[in-house]
């Protein structure tokens, strides 16, 4: 008979192996689904991976956003605060950065301080937006999953309200978008051709900073303890609500920063185009990485490729929706696969 036993300690190789196997199984599942529904699975996989290699800059452009968002999500998840609102916090960051770029005094709009101030505004905006959920959680224990998620919709409609209404540019020739930002607001591209920009180094710096903060600092230790058990933390004299508020502010602030970098480096203006599912993608990155900052960096590149595939697949005649489905199935297979790293399945003779 088959017996399931809890492991006392998970071997290291399993911690690495289960996510990889889970991703492979999810890819197989998607391929089978493509075949069953009469699509060209080989061509789809070739487009996802081959296309990503050719367009590696576009992949990394997505990864920059994912790295920063995911680090933010990981900070909240570390202490078991479920921030599902990264997309909304990112949009508020985009709005705040755009507000500075468009409406700051002329002197500032031409100076090298413009980008840093856009970034600060975005961090504060995204952080405060996240604090609506975080504060309600800390003070009244309001379910943050629902509030942070629903705030995504509110943020999206604020963005649309602005670009269709008061912020609509005079030079936008009828399109719902703002006027272009001044030249000083643009984070430059790294290479002469391609869109990969210096935001990549910001993202890498954030990964390294948070690796040390989360794994080596007193604060990182505190939020880990809180994540493992609220009561233990309380006996240790740690303030739960203070830490929830700090973590949510940082989480939302990073998402806001990702938004600022996005509008500054890529769009150069505020427009209503937004992948509102990017918060979900960040959650998948975080879970695949087991909340480890350095691993988040690597997984963000992989997921960046999947996001790029979403835009690239239709050209190859494959429904782009398969990329979305693939993301969902990866998360499912990862949490299912975790069973084998937490439990031992043994065959016992009766």
């Amino acid at each position: 008979m088959i017996k399931v036993e809890k492991r006392l300690e998970t071997p290291k190789y399993l911690l690495i192996l289960t996510p990889i196997v889970s991703v492979l199984v999810a890819l197989m599942f998607s391929a089978i689904l493509l075949l069953v529904t009469g699509e060209d699975a080989a061509r789809a996989m070739n487009t996802i991976f081959g296309g990503s290699l050719i367009n590696w800059q576009e992949v990394l452009v997505n990864s920059v956003t994912l790295m920063i968002l995911s680090i933010g999500v990981a900070v909240a998840f570390k202490m078991v605060v479920w921030n599902i609102g990264a997309a909304g916090q990112m949009m508020i960051g985009m709005i705040c950065a755009a507000g500075v770029a468009l409406f700051a005094p002329i002197a500032l709009r031409d100076s090298i301080f413009l980008i840093p101030i856009m970034a600060v505004a975005a961090v504060i905006g995204g952080g405060l937006w996240a604090l609506i959920s975080g504060g309600a959680k800390a003070i009244w224990n309001v379910n943050e999953v629902i509030t942070s998620l629903l705030l995504n919709y509110v943020a999206l409609y604020i963005l649309q309200f602005l670009v269709f209404g008061p912020w609509k540019g005079v030079t936008s020739s009828g399109f719902p978008q703002t006027d272009p930002f001044p030249a000083a607001a643009k984070i430059p591209a790294i290479f002469e051709t391609g869109r990969l920009h210096y935001g990549l180094f910001v993202a890498l710096a954030i990964i390294i900073i948070f690796y040390f903060l989360l794994n080596k600092s007193r604060w990182g230790y505190e939020i880990r303890v809180i994540g493992e058990g609220r009561n233990v933390a309380r006996y240790g004299g740690m303030s739960l609500s203070k830490n929830i508020i700090i973590a949510m502010f940082i989480s939302g602030g990073l998402a806001g920063l990702a938004g600022a970098i996005h509008v500054s480096a890529l769009e150069g203006r505020l427009s209503p185009h937004m992948n509102t599912d990017i918060g979900y993608t960040a959650i998948i990155v975080v879970w695949l990485s087991r909340l480890h900052p350095l691993v988040i960096g690597i997984v963000s590149v992989f997921m960046g490729a999947l996001l790029f595939a979403e835009t690239n697949l239709p050209a190859a005649g494959i429904p782009s929706e398969i990329a979305k489905l693939l993301q969902g199935s990866i998360l499912f297979f990862v949490i299912a696969g975790d069973f084998f790293s937490r439990y031992k399945v043994k065959y016992v003779k009766e």
Binding site: W82, I146, Y153, V154, F161, P319, L331, F332
Partner: protein
């Protein structure tokens, strides 16, 4: 139009708009009463909606009577919802995964799967399901002012709205007045004790998760086949209703009799989007679209603030896995 007629129109629209959320929230009450939280309602509603759209097109094309076809569509949507919920049940109950993450996975996966199916199987993107449910006019002859309008708002509706009224009673009766309902509450409050008196906790939880999925599937189908819908499939169409339903369960303190009023309250918030424009009250569409989400968040805040410390009526063992051997 006079004030009373506007009142009737707004309320009737709110009842119709609240119905998909009502079904979904009722299902979640059953699931959560058994001690399992399923945050994947959004995904299950999408699966219900795409199932309803595809099966609706196929069935009405056969030429069978519209009502028969629609009843079959509702059954298919319920089956599809419960099948997709089975994933959550398996991952949480058999593989003992974190219920919150599994629920998120279900929301993402269900949405992705329905988008994919929609893309692959809907050849004509402008396809519309024309033969939908029709309204039964039970309250047409009543001419007493106010009372007539009130009754018409609730009783000139389609089959699904009436089914929702009935299900509120059925679910309440099941949970509070039957032996199985007592067992259901027991496995959500104290699974160890329920197990000790011979209730199969794991099997029961599987079943109640699937029943919850069936309700969410029907909730999603309502957005396609109800008389007030446009009968068209579209990405993004569930628009957070699954999450609003979760908030509604908390607001209603897991009580089916309260959930119906909550659903219609949210229905009003949603009905305002179109009605405020029609009646010229307010015309900024983006602000109108925000209202249901802001109302949900505010209602949730008020629920938590005014509930006595920590007791919001949540089942004692909600989202705690139960393992016989680990007791």
């Amino acid at each position: 139009m006079n004030g009373l007629n506007i009142f009737q129109d707004l309320l009737a629209s709110a009842v119709a708009m609240g119905t998909p959320i009502l079904f979904t929230a009722l299902g979640e009450i059953i699931t959560e009463k058994s001690g399992v939280q399923n945050l994947g309602l959004e995904g299950m509603m999408y699966i219900g909606a795409i199932t309803a759209f595809l099966s609706g097109l196929a069935l009405t094309a056969t030429g069978m009577p519209a009502l028969t076809a629609m009843i079959l569509v509702i059954i298919f949507a319920a089956l599809a919802g419960s099948l997709i919920a089975l994933l959550h049940a398996y991952v949480c109950l058999s593989l003992r995964a974190n219920q919150i993450v599994s629920g998120l996975a279900l929301a993402i996966f269900g949405t992705g799967l329905s988008y994919y199916l929609g893309k692959v199987f809907i050849t004509d993107a402008t396809a519309i399901l024309n033969d939908r449910l029709t309204r039964f006019h039970f309250a047409d002859g009543i001419d007493i002012p106010f009372v007539g309008q009130l009754l018409r708002a609730f009783l000139n509706q389609d089959l699904l709205v009436y089914l929702a009224y009935i299900m509120v009673f059925v679910v309440w009766f099941f949970i509070y007045k039957t032996q199985r309902g007592l067992n259901l509450r027991a496995i959500g409050e104290n699974p160890g004790a329920a197990d000790a008196v011979g209730v199969n906790v794991k099997l029961s939880r599987y079943i109640y998760v699937m029943i919850g999925g069936a309700f969410a599937g029907v909730g999603g189908s309502a957005l396609i086949i109800s008389a007030s819908s446009v009968g068209q499939w579209g990405q993004g169409m569930i628009a957070g209703r699954g999450w609003i339903a979760i908030a509604l369960v908390i607001f209603a303190r897991w009580n089916p009799k309260l959930v119906i009023w909550g659903a219609y309250l949210f229905g009003i918030a949603m009905a305002l989007e179109s009605r405020a424009q029609i009646y010229g009250w307010f015309d900024n569409i983006f602000i109108l679209k925000m209202i249901p989400y802001i109302v949900t968040i505010l209602v949730l805040l008020v629920t938590f603030i005014f509930s006595k410390q920590k007791d919001i009526g949540e089942p004692e063992s909600l989202s705690k896995p139960y393992d016989r051997e680990e007791r």
